[in-house]
Amino acid sequence: EPEVTQTPSHQVTQMGQEVILRCVPISNHLYFYWYRQILGQKVEFLVSFYNNEISEKSEIFDDQFSVERPDGSNFTLKIRSTKLEDSAMYFCASSGGGNELWEYFGAGTRLSVL
């Protein structure tokens, strides 16, 4: 069964460092998303991406965040200068559009900022 793949599963970084979280969406999907979940809290939308551009972003997704689809398969989230409050689980998701109803979530990357 096709799945969304995220790497790494756990990333530890120092405050102020740049991190790149990587995702490989399901191959024929058209819409891509990043969400985050701070420990014990609900899942929050960060950004959606379609047709090689951001279609929507939340207030969390400030200038420190960027997304990119550098080739036909990868979808990345970059945080330029990490803060302690960026520590969370980051989920990538993709959906196909058309008759595809679901957003499929990856297993997540746990980001720990020290």
């Binding site: 609900k42 279609s55 939340s58 109803l101 679901w102 957003e103 979530f105 990856g106 997540g108």
Partner: protein, 111 residues
């Protein structure tokens, strides 16, 4: 702004009992989803509900949707320990639109 509220936020149940989780949302939405999350894991899709009166069942879980009341319910029948998890409802407004999640209901089923 679309808001989603779930209750209860925490539910401790005895095995064999029935209970219902409620999900209210604030504005018209195209689809309502139920996801399950085990600790430290990703989100597992359970149900998607599209239309008023929709009802879906899988094992001991049954989800329903009332679009007029902007309410979905997740009913648990004869709970078993394996159902212990956090359950999220989420809504969106169509293809390519973000999912807005409720706060989640932590379900603990005790033997």
């Amino acid at each position: 702004e679309l808001k989603v509220e779930q209750n209860p936020l925490f539910l401790s149940m005895q095995e064999g009992k029935n209970y219902t989780i409620y999900c209210n949302y604030s504005t018209t939405s195209d689809r309502l989803y139920w996801y399950r999350q085990d600790p430290g894991k990703s989100l597992e899709s359970l149900f998607v509900l599209l239309s008023n009166g929709a009802v879906k069942q899988e094992g001991r879980l049954m989800a329903s949707l009332d679009t007029k009341a902007r309410l979905s319910t997740l009913h648990i029948t004869a709970a078993v320990h394996d159902l212990s998890a956090t359950y999220f409802c989420a809504v969106d407004k169509g293809y390519g639109n973000k999912l807005v999640f409720g706060a989640g209901t932590i379900l603990r089923v005790k033997s």
